[in-house]
């Protein structure tokens, strides 16, 4: 059952990605990407990462992409239907490069020895069972990864200030 679901959502994700890359209109591109993100969130759930799925929907699809949409509307780009895809040579080069990337990464993925099975899924499920889904992430986050967590908050502060400053009109 989950396998079938996985396949459905996987094809939706791929379809969304293809649409993002090939659409002329920026808005259409963005909407396809939203579809892709939702599918990926569903796949997260299938893989047992409930919290991450929720964060994906809330932050990524909900905040970041909406921000993108706002910028598109701000810059009034929605009306331009001229194609901005590069010429034939670039297409060929890009496709070849992308193909090579895919093959390079995937070929190492299919080797059984490359990924040791350390019983991750079981431990995650056990943690979710014990604490809830949020707690399962929160515990390593605040315990083992406390310093990166604090640094990330500083990063966000800097990003906020930077974004405001950069986008300000001349004073």
């Amino acid at each position: 059952m989950s396998s079938l679901l996985w396949w459905i959502f996987a094809s939706m994700a791929i379809g969304g990605a293809m649409g993002t890359v090939t659409r002329r209109s920026p808005v259409a591109s963005l909407l396809f990407l939203v579809v892709s993100f939702f599918s990926i969130a569903a796949i997260y759930v299938i893989l047992g990462a409930h919290f991450i799925a929720a964060v994906q929907v809330i932050v990524y699809a909900g905040a970041i992409l909406v921000l993108f949409l706002f910028v598109i509307m701000l810059l009034n780009l929605g009306h331009d239907y001229r194609s901005d895809l590069r010429g034939g040579a670039w297409m060929l080069a890009g496709s070849v490069a992308a193909g090579l990337i895919f093959w390079a990464i995937a070929s190492s993925a299919v080797q059984p020895a490359s990924v040791p099975d350390l019983g991750g899924r079981q431990s995650i499920d056990a943690a979710v069972q014990q604490l809830n889904a949020v707690g399962a992430i929160a515990e390593p986050l605040f315990r083992d990864f406390a310093v990166p967590f604090e640094l990330t908050s500083i990063l966000l502060l800097v990003a906020i200030v930077g974004a405001v400053l950069l986008a300000k009109r001349r004073v």
Partner: protein, 676 residues
């Protein structure tokens, strides 16, 4: 005998250099101050002569047998090669030094009168002094490289002096020709030095000649090659076949230069080289035959050309080439003392002949200058009957002519006779036939010598004067500063031969009524004994008879008779012929034209050597230099710019491109990690 320390040996060499410096400065700063070069120029050479004479007497008193080497400083010390700046004083070098400084001094004095009107007076004496410096270095150097320094230096000074009036294109070209042809010979000298160093490991005369008999096999390839290359250098410097072509052209220089450089001193450098390297030549009989042969052939060849020349200096130039051939006959046949003897006597009478002709040219030039006639002052067809106008010159030049023709008791008789006798006496052993041929050639050349010299005298001094009526009034004898050296040289040409009267002759009546006997032979014995001993040890013997019979005395008398007879025949033949001035004379025809045009040797050289070399260098310049080298260098620049252009194409300033490059880089890294 006590050890002999020559005093002021270095001063002999240094004085002319000082003279060069002073005169050169004068030429730069005050070219019109004629008094400085007048005194400094001849003065330094005269002073050097005095020191040389005192060294000579010192040597005689001390009875020096071994060469005295005075090292001044260490010049080159590289690896195993050690060459010092050192002067070698021995019997041979002192003789050469006396000749160079003595005759040089007389010529310097003559030049004071000859060059008085010239604007380059100071420059002339500067070059002349520099020349004497280099020549002394050549004869006094104690090693082959030092001799080579002098060798090259006299070549340089020859170029400077031949092209003295460099504004005239022809004269400048003559200087170039001399230098370039000399260079060909110098190449031979260098190769010989390299081979000597490779075989013996040293280049000092003392060391080389001591070790040569042990190092080289008699008649072996190594020593034959070395000596032949040395002789190549000698043919360049001493104007033998095939490298004689520069000497007639060198007559473009002032006449005293021709007297000093191309008669008495520089051209004798080759003879000195062969005599100095006598040890090597006696180890290589084939080279000796070659040297003698080239000398004999040149003697005859040049004499034939001299028969038909009309320029007085050209006749003397070819005469010099011919007499140098005699010297090489002497030293080639192993008679080193005879060759050096002829060198000495030739210096006397040839310098006298050149200076005398210089006096004639000086007078003719003045006469034509007065009447603004643009005739050639050196063409004998424009002269004639000058004995009435220039008696001192006439008498002294006749003395020189008798000397060069080999008439007893003048100097040339003894030296030339001895050479002819020696080459005949060596006609035994494996090369007997060759030496017999050379003997015949030498005799023939002697006859021709007497003929063309008489022709010169008759055309110039006897008969009717053809210069023109207006000019005749201006012809007069030269000033004392010019005819006193002539008189001194005439005296030397008379008594100079009495230094070395062969035993056979000094015992005969009439011919032997002379003071002195084989003095030069004995004096040079310490230098030549090594070579003579080697020759004797290797089976070279000497007979006491001429090739076709007869003793020394008989042939001496015969040669005098032959010379006198030729003179009389020539005088009557030439005297009877009617000559017209040069502009009205017909061009020579037939065989005479061939002789007049010097057997077309210059033209042949031009076609065979000069034009192909020029063509090759032009094509090399176009192909190798223009196309290959410039192409490579420009191509390298072009390739760098092309690389730069390609590289710049990658800087599009666009993110997409950079992202693409990033992806490419990632792929490469992954490939390296996964598959590496």
């Amino acid at each position: 005998m006590e050890a002999f320390h020559p005093t002021l040996l270095w001063a002999i060499v240094l004085l002319p250099l000082v003279g060069f410096a002073v005169n050169g400065l004068t030429a730069f700063a005050a070219p019109d101050r004629k008094s400085i070069p007048t005194w400094i120029g001849p003065g330094v050479v005269g002073l050097a002569f005095v020191i040389a004479v005192s060294s000579f007497f010192g040597m005689r008193a001390a009875g020096v047998e071994e060469p005295v080497v005075q090292t001044l400083w260490q010049w080159i010390a590289v690896g195993g090669l050690r060459i010092d700046a050192a002067l070698q004083l021995d019997a041979l070098s002192i003789v050469m030094t006396l000749v160079v400084t003595g005759v040089g001094f007389l010529i310097h004095v003559f030049s004071v009168g000859y060059m008085r009107e010239d604007a380059g007076y100071a420059r002339y004496f500067a070059y002349l002094n520099l020349f004497v410096f280099f020549m002394l270095l050549l004869v006094l150097g104690s090693s082959f490289p030092l001799m080579f320094v002098g060798w090259e230096g006299v070549g340089l000074c020859s170029y400077l002096l031949i092209g003295f009036w460099f504004a005239d294109r022809e004269k400048a070209d003559a200087g170039k020709k001399a230098f370039i042809v000399n260079r060909i010979g110098d190449f031979g000298f260098l190769i010989a030095m390299f081979m000597l160093y490779a075989n013996i490991g040293s280049l000092d005369f003392v060391t080389v000649f001591a070790q040569a008999p042990a190092t080289f096999a008699y008649g072996g390839a190594a020593v034959t090659a070395i000596t032949l290359f040395l002789f190549l250098g000698a043919t360049g410097k001493s104007a033998q076949i095939p490298l004689y072509v520069w000497l007639p052209d060198a007559m473009a220089g002032p006449t005293p230069v021709s007297a000093l450089i191309h008669a008495a001193t520089m051209v004798t450098g080759g003879v000195y080289l062969v005599a100095r390297a006598g040890v090597l030549f006696s180890l290589a009989p084939i080279s000796s035959v070659v040297v003698t042969g080239v000398g004999a052939l040149t003697a005859l060849f040049a004499a034939t050309i001299g028969l038909m020349q009309y320029d007085i200096k050209k006749v003397l130039a070819y005469s010099t080439v011919s007499q140098l051939g005699y010297m090489f006959i002497g030293v080639g046949a192993g008679a080193y003392a005879a060759g050096i003897f002829h060198l000495m006597t030739h210096a006397f009478f040839k310098a006298l002949l050149f200076l005398g002709s210089g006096a004639v040219i000086h007078s003719m030039h003045e006469a034509f200058h007065h009447t603004h006639k643009d005739w050639d002052a050196q063409d004998m067809r424009n002269m004639g009957g000058l004995r009435h106008h220039m008696p001192i010159t006439w008498v002294t030049m006749w003395i020189a002519t008798l000397a060069i023709a080999g008439v007893w008791p003048f100097a040339g008789f003894f030296s030339k006779d001895e050479i002819i006798w020696q080459v005949g006496a060596h006609a035994v052993g494996p090369f007997a036939a060759w030496y017999r041929v050379y003997w015949v050639l030498a005799l023939t050349a002697a006859v021709l010598t007497a003929f063309y010299m008489t022709r010169l005298m008759v055309l110039t001094f006897h008969g009717e004067n053809r210069s023109g009526d207006a000019e005749r009034k201006h012809l007069h004898e030269v000033s004392p500063v010019m005819w006193v050296p002539l008189a001194v040289l005439a005296g030397l040409a008379t008594v100079g031969g009495w230094l070395n009267v062969p035993e056979a002759i000094s015992e005969t009546p009439v011919l032997g009524w002379l003071p002195g006997s084989e003095w030069l032979h004995e004096w040079l014995h310490p230098v030549t004994e090594a070579a003579d001993g080697l020759a004797a040890a290797n089976g070279v013997s000497v007979v006491d008879a001429a090739p076709f019979g007869g003793g020394e005395v008989l042939w001496a008398v015969l040669s005098v008779a032959l010379a006198l007879g030729t003179i009389m025949v020539a005088a009557s033949v030439i005297g009877r012929r009617k000559y017209r001035p040069a502009t009205e004379s017909p061009a020579p025809r037939g065989f005479a034209a061939v002789l007049y045009h010097k057997w077309y040797v210059d033209e042949i050289y031009d076609i065979v050597v000069v034009r192909p070399v020029l063509a090759i260098s032009r094509s090399l310049s176009r192909i190798v230099d223009g196309f290959l080298i410039d192409g490579t260098v420009n191509g390298a620049g072009y390739v760098s710019r092309a690389f730069g252009w390609v590289g710049s194409r990658m800087q599009t300033g666009q993110v997409n491109t950079y992202a693409f490059a990033l992806v490419g880089g990632v792929l490469i890294v992954i490939a390296l990690v996964v598959f590496g």
